[in-house]
Every structure is written in structure tokens, then in C-alpha cells.
Symmetry: C2
């Protein structure tokens, strides 16, 4: 007998599950419920449509209910909200615009309701000038508000991906944009040293940043709105975009008996089955295992949602398929800059008390002698066994490639030594004979093998200035153009001549511009019996931290 | 006591070995011999300097002898050719411009003499209008010939990487360019179906291609030169660039007793040590192990040369380090197109009688709803156990990234199932929620699991036309715009309605534009009891083969 499968939610996870299930099972009865009018839309494209980078609205609609019917024989029911799952009798209750309230039975059920924007009960939050962005109706509302009204000043609350994308897109439409972030820095997947580079890019393009500050209240002022911040500062704008995070859209499951996490996420096993047999859940609404730390986490991203949908479908179709965890590989365009990351950052590792080491490589997107090479910074985080815990990259071009490669090594449980050995595409327009990823592998290997000891700019404050010698090994010109206070200048190329003038009893802290010459200096000094550490990432990484 | 280490050859492999050795061993005496004037130059940039994409000659010189002395305390001896290795007394004989002939002793020796252009004894080859390209003097000669003379027409002999890069660069300088290739197609690392796309790009940019034809003789005609081909065709040009491959520059080792391969390459073990203990060899001059097939091969590329130099140095410094083989990951820019490959192609696997399967994915560089998405084709070659044997990619952008990721999976001994699970960076400007690499994994998995059977356009000729049904499952419009002879058109979205009109006893061969709808059709038909195969890569791959 053919299976009857219901799917709740018709976008990334739900539509992927339904399509894959049909391919695996031609006879199943598949019904997909979607609360809204649209299915299979490009969530990730919404900010760019508002910013008019994507010109045609129709491009956002990847599939239509009719298309899903024609191609996959899927009964798509839009304007149909599932308000309840009745697991005992294996039915869902549906509130349909067209058909009213009814029950539909299932053999299997896939839940992919996604996540909705957080709207905290701040005074004045009800203003019709405050918007959140999740779907096509939200998009239409924001866009027509901006198109029609004389909107010139926007405040974006929240410096996560959606907030930053909205800030960029509104700015590109010529608005005055202020971005307010409660944390000390924007973009939670990144550590401060990388996030500040993005912050600089935003400011360079005229986005005003207010960090370490949250919203206390909103108040309409005729055609404008006041935003009062916790610091006491008050802003006035024509519109507010609220993008302070998402919460799983699982209200309809609240007292259903299905196991939920403490923030309302659905709990699943590695086959993505919930605590109810035969009921699967995927996408933004579930808790997943962090691929690196094996902890439960919530990572609302489209790639994982799509993959999970496919895996749930496979299990329903009888194909053994498991989800092995999420790395959180993510990427963001910010004007001319790309920021990407995979795995864990320092902040999350510290929270979990997981020991780690960090190195930086500041290199170029491709061979510097070929036109168009642009700076590219990689931060690599790894443990004593050589396993890679995370990586972050910032630059104008080629960042996605390097983070993808490192994400691949993480996924295959590779080590830093593998990064060193990777044989990647090289011709001058694309890379260097030693790709930045290879260099990151070399640098990390050298640290692990104890060939060089490193310190970070952060740690500099802890040193006893009296009893250490801070040596800037860059050229005299570089030194004159700015250096760390208290440093003496001995260019690496003259270091061997100066060895006898150095106090062997004093530990040396060396640094250069990016960490490479400092490493060379550390090798020379170590082998001549000095106690020396090199500042990883050099003056460039230090500078990024705004000292 | 400190080691005395000699290095023969001062560019990619040699200079890398010398620099790394100094970092690992501050006390070693290191002497680097280079026959020419320049060391550490950017071989790979030479065509682009001739083409004036790289404007400053100085940019080609990555390091100088003085720079190597200052930074790495390396005694660089240019204009110093090593003419003999006297392994019994552990010396080399040096022919120095400055110092005449002398012997220099060693404890360890690194050989990185590279490879030189093949110049076969064709009649007329001595013409001063015929050039090969390997180093700075060659570059200067070619560039000044083109700059000064009224050179308007060039013939490039050889369609390998250097030949194609030269054709592109000369064309970009406005020359009339004809490229002559003896094989049926250019670019040996690629199979025909991918190479033809590059051939089209060359022709679209005005490069004339003559395939399946070689040179019989050259003859100077005053200021021009005649090139007579094997076919009898005769060309006339102002200059000829000869780029038909390279041969190891190991003449000085010929009767030395060191073990050489049958084409003169130096044979080494996995520590890159030659048959002479303490003598290491790296780079273009050695035979390496193919990482995938474990066969001996010769792969003259800069990435491997650099890495090998570092490994040889490590071994001399007493660090255990081995070279695990070369994949041949390589990449080429051809006007607006990128072609990249890693691992083996069909041709090489066939030669070795290694069974394999092939799939294609024709996808886009990033989400198609975001501006600038361009076509991207991947070809994946794998075996029955799911291991990846090779991959090739062609497109305008994003090709390097996808081949790098697949090269990484190959290096870590991953399988096609791993491609499916990779969590790669996704935001609309960079990729799709299902990255083309994920899709390649899905498609390959479906083939391996027997969920769909595929055939290639090549194989179509073998089918019994009477007893098979060739079904084009694209739309009517697509069908009308061109289809394979003998096909009937049943759009996939109407296939379910037509099932009863199809002869169940006839095997069906389905195809669509890129292979995806054909796969959907195959799933529908298989589950309804039909015997069906889908043409992988679809009409697009078929078309690429110029039917
Ligand atoms: C503006 C924006 C930009 C983004 N950019 C990126 C990006 O660049 N990269 C990236 O990886 N991710 C991005 N994301 C996140 C990505 O879109 C999500 O991770 C992904 O869509 C999650 O898929 P899902 O199926 O879980 O939820 P969704 O795709 O949100 O689908 C859930 C659907 O379920 C419906 N639904 C909810 N409850 C019910 C119910 N009870 N009954 C019926 N229907 C219901 C909802 O209406 C919704 O349409 C972005 C998200 C947004 C909003
Ligand atoms: C035009 C061109 C473009 C290229 N483009 C690319 C590319 O895009 N990507 C890529 O991966 N690879 C490319 N390559 C190949 C790459 O340059 C080589 O693989 C790499 O340089 C090999 O390093 P090697 O040390 O073995 O030899 P080389 O770099 O050639 O160095 C060998 C040196 O040894 C010297 N020498 C030889 N014999 C003696 C002797 N007896 N005594 C003293 N000195 C001696 C030679 O003069 C030479 O300078 C290109 C090569 C060329 C010529
Ligand atoms: C449109 C949508 C329903 C399509 O889902 P889908 O059919 O699973 O995904 P795709 O269109 O990428 O097709 C993938 C399938 O085609 C197959 N395929 C792709 N290219 C192929 C080729 N060249 N040859 C053979 N098969 C191919 C894949 O193997 C896969 O099939 P499988 O899962 O059975 O292995 C779903 O992706 C969707 O709703 N997207 C919009 C919402 C969204 O994802 N938002 C977040 C990002 S903005
Ligand atoms: C110039 C040349 C001598 C440099 O060789 P090299 O010093 O080995 O290579 P690089 O300059 O890339 O430096 C790599 C070293 O710096 C270290 N390094 C790089 N960035 C670093 C950073 N941010 N922090 C610390 N160390 C860093 C690496 O770990 C590596 O050292 P290791 O090998 O001891 O681990 C050599 O590459 C050369 O001759 N190149 C031109 C010829 C050529 O390659 N041609 C073919 C391509 S066109």
C-alpha cells in the first residue's frame, strides 16, 4: 500500500523533502502544507530584491504549487496552516483559507516550519514603521514602504547576517543607514579580529555603526520613529528593520508532547526523526549536532535545511541516511568584501572550555605579480592533535574558495597537516604555487611541531615589559610608519648581525607585518639559543583589533 | 658539525628547498647553483608579461640572489651550471661564467633542474623566428621580437597549457594567431567533451585552431616563416611559438649512474631521495606517483615543485616528511573561461584499464536569481566503490573553487557520498543551497546506488535504434530548437499521463538539456516498470561533442 506523507512548510527543507521523496517513491501520496501564499521561494535573495540588486520579483519564486504538482505530483496546499499535530491518531489539524479547519491523516510527517524573526516586547514595537524580514509578504511590505514613502533614513537593529545584508542593500539604495548591535561586535560567527574588518567596510560605505548598545524603546513621531537606546542615545529614522535573530516557528507544537529543546527547537535523532516515530523534522526549527564539538546547537542555514529535507525523505522512502551534524559554514557579501567561516570560533570554544590554538595567514587572493590580486586573511583554529576546529576568512575575492576547502577538510576529519599537502589549482589568475590554505597548514604545523612559539596581540598585555624585549623585525620604513609601543626595530634581514647585541637572558617577543618574517626571526633566534615568540598575524592582525 | 648542502636550480623547487632548509637549520652551509642570471622568477607569469597583462618585468622576479643572501644566508651562484655530479667523491662540477670550472663538495645535494621545451629535429627548426618559452631570457627575446618587429601573425605549435596561454596572450596583443595541435583536441588533462568548450572559446576570440595536424617542416621566407603541416597544409607567419611539451633538463646526469626513468626523469623514493643516498631531487625533473592510480607519472607543475622542495629540505634537516603523490590539479584561464581539472581523465583511465563511471552536472556559478550567475559544468569520474578518480570543470567563474574542493576530497580519500554531504559556503552571490559539488555527489550516488542508469552520448551510437525508444523529456520549445535525431518528445511534466502509450517492452533512452529532468523521467519510468537509461549531461554534453 502506498504511503501517505504530509509535509509542513513549503520552502527550503519542506520542498526539498517533498521533491526527493517523490523521486524515491512514485506511489506515495504527498501533501505539502504552507501557511503563506508562496512556496519554494529564495529566502536568501530577499534583501537583494529590496536593494534592487535582484530586479525581477518572479526570480525569487523558484517553484510554484502548479509546478510542484506537474513535476512531482505533489498536492501543494497554500494558505494552509497546520495548527496541531495529533500524534495519537496520526493526523494534523489544518486551518485553510479556502477549506476552513480540517484534519488530514498521515503515515509519515515531515516538519519544516522554519524560524521567525524575534520581536521582543519593547515599548513601541507595534509601530508600522518597524519591519522584520522572513518571506515574500515581508519583502513586499518593506519594499513598497521604501519605494513609495519618502524613506531616507533607516535604522537596522541587529548585526547578524540578515541585519548586515539589509544595511548594505538599503545603503546601496541611497538611504542613510545606522546599524545598532548590542554585542561588542557584529556577526556572531566571527571573532572580533575578523568582524572588525567587516565593520570597517560598512563604515567605509557610509553605514553608521553603534556597537554595545540595544534598543530600550520605540516611539512614533508622525512620519518618523524615535529609537531610544539603552545607552540613552536617541535616534530618529523613517523606518526600522529589526533583525536580532530568529526563533523556531514551533508554537503549534508547544503542548503536543513532541520533545522540544529549551528554546522551542524540535529534537531529532540522526535520522532526523522526532520523539514521535514516523515524524521527521528538518531545517531552522530543529536542534542539530555541531559537527566539530558534538554539542547540540541551532544553526539556521539554507544548505543544512535542504540537505536535511533530502535525508528525511530518504528515511521515509526506506533508504538509510543519516545527518552527521552542522558545521555552520556561512558567508556574507558586504559591499566589496567577503567574510566566510566554518566550524567554531574562539568565543564558542572558550565557552565550552575546549583548548585550541590560533594562527593567521595574511596573504593574497592570487599571485601578486598578476593583476587584481587582493589581500586575503585567514584565521585557523585547531587543537593539539592537529584537528581543525574552525576557520574564518575575510577579503575581497577568493575567500569562499579557501573556506570551502577548509570546510571540506573538517568534514573529512582532516588535520592541519592535510592542509599543507593539498594540491589545489594554481595558475597566476587564481592562486599562488603555495595556496593560502597550504600556508595556513604550514604555519599551523610549525606551531604544533614546536618549531615556533606564537602569541597573539591580545596576550601582549600580559607580558612583563621590563623583562621582555619586543622586537619589530620589519624594515625601518615600516617601523617608522607605525609600530607597537615599546618595540625596538631590528629588520629580519639584519638580525643575524645583531645577535651579539641582544640580551640572551631576556625572552623576545617578535612581530612583523603579517607573521611571516616574525616566524623567520623566531627560527633564527631559537636556533641561536634565544627564548622567542612570534606574534601570529603580525601588526596587521594587531591593527585589526584597533589598538 | 654543520651540513654542507648544494642545490642545483634556483627557481620553484630549488629556491623553496633552500629557503625551507635555512629555516630548519641555521648552521647549514647552503649553496644554490643557477645556470642562468635569474633565480626565483615567476615562470607561470611569463606568458602574461609577453601579453602585457603583467606590465612590470620586475614583478616576475620574486626573489634576487642578494635577497636570498640577506634573508636566508644562502650563497646563490648564478651563471653557474652544474655539469656533473661526482657521487663517489660527493662533489659537483660547476661551470661558472665568473670562476670557470670547479668542483664543490656536498654532504647533501638537492637537484631541481626543471624541464626544458622539446625541440624536435624538424627541418628548419633553427629559424630565428621560432621561440620556446621557459625562462626570463626566453621571455625577453620573444617580447622584444614582438615589440620591435612588425609581427602581426603568430603560429603557436602545441595546445597544452603554455601553448594555449601564449595563444591567448598574443591574441590579446592584437596578433593573428593560429594554434596547431597534433592530437584531436587541445589540453591533454581534459577529455574531449570539456576541451571542446575551451576550443570554442579560443575560436570565439579569433584564435584559429588546426587540430589533428603536426609540423613537417619550417622554412624562413625573408621576414616571415612558412610552416608546412603533415596534412600538406602550409601556413605563413611572422613568428612561431613552439610549445609541444617539456623534457627533463637532466642531460648532466645522463651517464652519472643515478637512476633515471626512460624519458630521463630522476627516480626518487617517497622521501624524494634519488638512488644516491643524501641526494634528493624535486620538481619537473622527477617521476612522481600518481596519487589516484599509484602509477609513475611526470607532472610538471609549480605547486608540486614547491611542495617537494620543502619536503626534500625537511628530510635533509632530519624531519621525517614524505611526498604522497601528485594529482595533477591544474587550471587555465582562456579569455573569459576557466578550465580546471584534478586526478585522472577518461583517456588515462582507459589506458590503464581502470573501470570508471562518469557523470556531468551543468549548473550555475551561484544562485541564478542573483545577478552574474554563469554556466558551470562539472564532470566527475569515480569508481564502483565510490572513490573519486578525477574531475574536470569548465565555466566563466567559480570553477577553481569546485575543482579545489573535489581535489581536497580526493586527497583525503573521500568518496562521492562525501561530496553530497559537504557543507559549503552559501549566500546568493557565491553558490546555491545545493552547491554544484553537492549535486555532483547526489548524481553520482544515485548512479552507484542503481537508482538511475545512465548512458553517455558516445554510447548512443551502439544502441539498436529499432528496439529502443529515444525520448526527449524537455519542453516542446526546447525540442523544436534542436534535438537528437530519432527522438520523440514527451516533456517530463507530461510523462505520467503518457505512460500507457509507451511500449513496456522497449528499453527507453531518455535525455533532457543537462541530465536532471532526464533523471526525474528515469525515476518515474523505472518505478513504473520500464527499462530506462538517462543520458548524463544531457543535450548540453552531447552538443559539446559537436554532433
Ligand atoms: C532574509 C533571509 C536571508 C537569508 N540568507 C541566507 C543565506 O544567504 N544563506 C543561508 O544559508 N541561509 C540564509 N537564510 C536562512 C535560510 O533561508 C533558512 O535557513 C532556510 O530557509 C530554512 O529552511 P526551513 O525549511 O527550515 O524554513 P523556511 O524556508 O523558512 O520554510 C518554512 C515555511 O514553513 C511555513 N510554516 C511555518 N509554520 C507552518 C505551519 N504551522 N503550517 C504551515 N506552514 C508553516 C512558513 O510559512 C515557511 O514558508 C536567510 C533567511 C532569510 C530570512
Ligand atoms: C611559461 C610557463 C608557464 C607555466 N605556468 C604554470 C602554471 O600556471 N601553473 C603551474 O602549476 N605550473 C606552471 N608552469 C610550470 C612550473 O613553472 C614548473 O612546474 C616549475 O617551475 C618547476 O620547478 P622546478 O624547480 O622543477 O624547475 P624550474 O622552476 O624550471 O627551475 C629549474 C632551474 O634550474 C636551472 N638549471 C637547470 N639545469 C641546471 C644545471 N645543470 N645547473 C644549474 N642550474 C640548472 C634552470 O636554469 C632553471 O632556472 C609553467 C611553466 C612555464 C615555463
Ligand atoms: C525548488 C526545490 C523544490 C527543488 O528541490 P530539489 O528538487 O530537491 O533540488 P534541485 O532542484 O536542486 O534538484 C536536485 C535533484 O536533481 C538531481 N540533479 C541535479 N542535476 C542533475 C544532473 N545534471 N543530472 C542528474 N540529476 C541531477 C539531483 O541528484 C537531485 O536529485 P536527488 O535528490 O534525487 O539526488 C527546492 O530546492 C526549493 O524549494 N528551493 C527554494 C527554497 C530554498 O531552498 N530556499 C533557501 C535558499 S534561497
Ligand atoms: C621566493 C621563494 C624562494 C620563497 O620560498 P619560501 O620561503 O619557501 O615560500 P614563501 O615565501 O611562500 O614562504 C613560506 C614560508 O613562510 C611561512 N609563512 C607564510 N605566511 C606566514 C605567516 N603569516 N605566519 C608565519 N609564517 C608564515 C610558511 O610557513 C613557510 O615557512 P615553512 O616552509 O618553514 O613552513 C620561492 O617560492 C620561489 O623561488 N618562488 C618563485 C619561483 C616559483 O615558485 N615559480 C613557480 C610559480 S610561478
Amino acid at each position: 500500500m502506498s504511503k501517505k506523507v504530509l509535509v509542513v512548510g513549503g520552502v527550503a527543507g519542506g520542498a526539498s523533502a517533498a521533491a526527493r521523496l517523490r523521486r524515491m517513491d512514485e506511489t506515495a501520496e504527498i501533501i505539502m502544507f504552507e501557511r503563506d501564499e508562496h512556496i519554494s521561494f529564495a529566502n536568501c535573495g530577499l534583501p537583494y530584491y529590496i536593494g534592487e540588486n535582484i530586479k525581477e520579483r518572479s526570480k525569487l519564486l523558484v517553484q510554484t504549487p502548479q509546478g510542484m504538482q506537474n513535476r512531482f505530483k505533489i498536492d501543494v496546499r497554500t494558505h494552509s496552516e497546520v495548527t496541531q499535530v495529533n500524534s495519537a491518531r496520526k493526523t494534523v489539524t489544518v486551518k485553510s483559507k479556502e477549506k476552513g479547519i480540517y484534519e488530514e491523516s498521515y503515515d509519515y510527517l515531515v516538519l519544516s516550519p522554519g524560524a521567525k524573526a524575534i520581536k521582543p516586547p519593547i515599548p513601541g514595537i507595534g509601530s508600522n514603521k518597524i519591519f522584520t524580514l522572513r518571506n515574500i509578504p515581508d519583502t513586499d511590505t518593506i519594499k513598497s514602504f521604501i519605494d513609495k514613502q519618502e524613506v531616507q533614513r533607516a535604522v537596522v537593529i541587529g548585526g547578524g547576517f540578515i541585519g548586515v545584508e539589509m544595511a548594505e542593500n538599503l545603503r546601496e539604495r541611497g538611504l542613510e543607514v545606522t546599524l545598532v548591535e548590542a554585542a561588542p561586535h557584529i556577526l556572531p560567527p566571527f571573532d572580533t579580529d575578523m568582524a572588525v574588518v567587516v565593520e570597517q567596510e560598512l563604515e567605509n560605505h557610509g553605514v553608521k555603526l553603534l556597537l554595545n548598545d540595544g534598543v530600550k524603546s520605540f516611539a512614533d513621531q508622525g512620519d518618523t520613529i524615535d529609537i531610544v537606546l539603552n545607552s540613552g542615545m536617541s535616534l530618529n529614522a523613517d523606518t526600522v528593520i529589526l533583525a536580532i535573530g530568529v526563533t523556531p516557528d514551533t508554537g503549534f507544537l508547544k503542548d503536543s508532547g513532541v520533545k522540544l529543546g529549551n528554546k522551542g527547537h524540535i529534537l531529532v535523532n540522526e535520522r532526523l526523526e522526532t520523539s514521535w516515530p514516523g515524524v521527521y523534522a528538518v531545517g531552522d526549527a530543529i536542534e542539530v549536532i555541531d559537527f566539530v564539538t558534538k554539542q547540540n546547537v541551532t544553526i539556521p542555514l539554507a544548505g543544512p535545511a535542504n540537505k536535511q529535507g533530502r535525508i528525511a525523505a530518504d528515511n521515509i522512502a526506506g533508504l538509510a541516511s543519516t545527518y552527521k551534524g552542522t558545521q555552520g559554514t556561512s558567508i556574507l557579501k558586504v559591499f566589496g568584501l567577503t567574510a566566510a567561516s566554518t566550524g567554531n570560533n574562539e568565543r564558542s570554544l572558550k565557552k565550552l572550555n575546549i583548548p585550541y590554538k590560533v594562527i593567521y595567514v595574511h596573504s593574497a587572493s592570487h599571485a601578486t605579480y598578476y593583476p587584481g590580486a587582493l589581500p586575503l586573511s585567514l584565521k585557523l583554529i585547531f587543537n593539539d592533535a592537529g584537528y581543525i576546529l574552525g576557520a574564518q576568512g575575510v577579503g575581497s575575492t577568493g575567500v569562499d574558495k579557501r573556506i570551502d576547502v577548509i570546510a571540506t577538510v573538517i568534514r573529512l576529519n582532516g588535520k592541519v597537516a592535510d592542509l599543507a599537502e593539498l594540491e589545489l589549482c594554481y595558475a597566476p589568475p587564481y592562486s599562488s604555487a603555495k595556496d593560502p590554505v597550504n600556508l595556513a597548514g604550514y604555519v599551523a604545523e610549525n606551531v604544533l611541531a614546536g618549531r615556533t612559539e606564537t602569541f597573539t596581540y591580545d596576550e601582549l598585555a600580559d607580558y612583563d615589559k621590563e623583562n621582555t624585549l619586543l622586537v619589530d623585525v620589519r624594515t625601518e620604513l615600516e617601523f617608522q610608519n607605525g609600530h607597537i609601543e615599546g618595540a625596538v626595530n631590528i629588520p629580519v634581514d639584519k638580525l643575524r648581525e645583531e645577535l651579539n647585541n641582544l640580551d640572551r637572558d631576556k625572552p623576545i617577543l617578535a612581530y612583523c607585518q603579517v607573521g611571516q618574517r616574525g616566524y623567520y626571526a623566531s627560527r633564527i633566534l631559537t636556533q641561536h639559543g634565544f627564548n622567542v615568540k612570534n606574534m601570529t598575524g603580525g601588526y596587521k592582525s594587531a591593527n585589526a583589533q584597533n589598538f
